[in-house]
């Protein structure tokens, strides 16, 4: 039994079903990220774990304990909010002490806890300030300190970095990761930012429309997305989805790509699986991440399975380390990640290399990946 078990949890208001049966289980010390677009139910799920929202059906267990009917304070959790939710009328010290007071922690012990937490987050000098005297980053740090002071079995984070500017967000992100590594606590973290999800998580649950589309490690989700939605949501720039027709040649999957001149370029992919064989002669969607489609100088030329194709450059977008080159394949805009010097300019022909081992195939109707 894990540190947090969510079993077939549902939430509905009348006929509106917000959550349609969620199953997630994580071990002690794991960092779980719930990621998805707004309205997917991720915050509702977090509120239900916290006990701030009722569960319509199903079961949530923290540790060995089913907590369905326990009030938030009895669940052994702490939560950090997007708006920080610091009590505006209290100093930082009082903010941290508030919860300890209610749980009747003796005064001496309180001071000790506050001192330890303040030291850990380097905010000793802020203890006697009021929240309105702090910057956004400092406020979020205090909010984390307040959660740490409880020393709970489970930490809940509700989009804690969304109100911060880009630089601070990256800074606090690594701080949270470091904190997790040092303390080894179990964390559930909600975000709509797929980069936060990838960088922080041990386990990611990608949610959409009240369902978990895929649950797994960041690498699993990145390399083997379950469906078109997950494939498109995780990764930036997003994965290219090129419609094509599947063929088979000598036990290998083969597709043809047309860069707009009517010339079908044959691309040989990996060994064809039984699932994929059923789609031979039928339309499929080829999923290729931009970094798997590069110029010839960036590719590992010692590999002999790399597929080459030529295409006409439509737009180039330099990002510094590489340049994103947009070409058209089978009538679809496709982004390739190239070395800045090999990117070419609009109107030019470029030679690109495609990594067949990483390319994925999807059913265009069900949107599921063809494993």
């Amino acid at each position: 039994m894990g540190a947090l078990s969510i079993r077939n949890v549902k939430k509905s208001y009348g006929n509106t079903h917000i959550l349609k049966g969620i199953d997630i289980e994580i071990e002690k010390g794991e960092f779980l990220i719930l990621v998805g677009p707004s309205g997917c139910g991720k915050s509702t799920l977090l509120n239900m774990i916290a006990g701030l929202d009722d569960i319509s059906s199903g079961e949530i267990a923290i540790g060995e304990r089913v907590v369905n009917t326990l009030s938030p304070k009895d669940r052994d959790i702490a939560m950090v909010f997007q708006s920080y939710a610091l009590y505006p009328n209290m100093t930082v010290r009082k903010n941290i002490a508030f919860g300890l007071d209610i749980r009747k922690v003796p005064k001496g012990e309180q001071d000790e806890i506050i001192g330890r937490v303040a030291k850990m987050l380097q905010m000793e000098h802020l203890l006697d300030r009021k929240p309105h005297q702090l910057s956004g980053g400092q406020r979020q740090r205090v909010a984390m300190g307040r959660a740490l002071a409880r020393n709970p079995a489970l930490f809940l984070f509700d989009e804690p970095l969304s109100n911060l500017d880009a630089k601070l967000r990256v800074e606090l992100r690594s701080e949270i990761k470091l904190l997790h590594q040092r303390l080894g606590t179990t964390i559930v973290y909600v975000t709509h930012d797929q980069i936060e999800a990838m960088t922080l998580a041990d386990k990611i649950a990608v949610m959409k429309d009240g369902e978990v589309r895929q649950f797994g490690s960041p690498q699993q989700i990145y390399d083997s997305p379950a469906d078109l939605y997950v494939a498109g949501f995780i990764g930036s720039p997003a994965m290219n989805f090129i419609p094509c027709e599947l063929a088979e040649d000598a036990g290998r999957a083969v597709v043809a790509l047309d860069s707009g001149d009517g010339n079908k370029q044959r691309i040989v992919l990996g060994a064809i699986s039984d699932t994929q064989r059923a789609y031979v002669g039928k339309p499929v969607v080829l999923g290729v991440r931009p970094e798997q489609l590069t110029d010839t100088s960036s590719a590992h030329s010692e590999r002999d399975d790399l597929q080459t194709l030529t295409a006409t450059v439509a737009i180039t977008e330099p990002t510094g380390p590489d340049t994103l080159v947009t070409v058209t394949l089978n009538g679809t805009k496709t982004v390739a990640r190239c070395h800045p010097r090999a990117a070419g300019s609009p109107g030019e022909q470029v030679k690109l290399m495609l990594d067949p081992g990483k390319a994925l195939l999807f059913d265009p109707a069900t949107e599921k990946r063809l494993a």
Binding site: P72, F81, S83, Y87, P88, G99, I102, R103
Partner: protein, 292 residues
Amino acid sequence: MANLAYHQTPQARFARFVIYAVLVLVAIFYLAPLFVMISTSLKTLDEIRGGNLMSLPGSLNFDAWKTAWDSACTGVECGGMKGYFGNSLKMMIPSVLISTLVGAFNGYILSMWRFKGSDAFFMALLIGTFLPFQVVILPMAQVLGMLGIESGTTRLIMVHVIYGLQFTTLFFRNYYVTVPNELVKAARIDGAGFFRIFFSILLPISIPTIMVCLIWQTTQIWNDFLFGVVFSSGDGQPITVALNNLVNTSTGVKQYNVDMAAAIIAALPTLVVYAIGGKYFVRGLTAGAVKG
């Protein structure tokens, strides 16, 4: 604003002059009655009869104030305004405090602990703010009769609390909807209960709204005449009713100076409240105005 003053074209300077001239005129227009009241209250009756309305008193003579305070006749009684001033205080202070506290509590529930139909409930309450006093009088009299409350002061406290609640609830509710709900969630996780959250977190951050309610309710209740005249009688009446009686009681010569002094005494508390709390009033009204 400071920047504007430095590089001004002649036209801009003229426009500014016109603006200030208009403002000064309007201020004079509004302050003139107060000036007449104060100067008349300091004159003797002879000066009033002899001079004109705007002329200054010959010497500062506070006799009229003394008469108004403790010996002017309001009907058959001739004890001045002092007793009625006390009546008004005894009625106003509990009414203001109770209606503000209960309003804060209502606002807290209507914004942070919404229940099925709470919005409809709030709408119904809002309609109450549009009801004129006259509509309430008869049903209120019947209810007070059924409850058998005898004392004029108690009856007025009850009437003013009930009539004031929709206003105070509205003020607090509109302020609390701008407070992030996450604050309450955080407190719940910290283990604070319904009342603890209200008294330890929300009430302490509501000072501007509390000031608005105190000022609003003080003014409304102190200045009320209609409820006062209907629901109280004899020496339990509030000061507004006493002032009316004083001015309308004629025993020979009409003492304008005493009337004026009495009127200023009756208006003084609200003036003081505005002078002290005016800046909170504007701040508090706009505090909840950004989000609805």
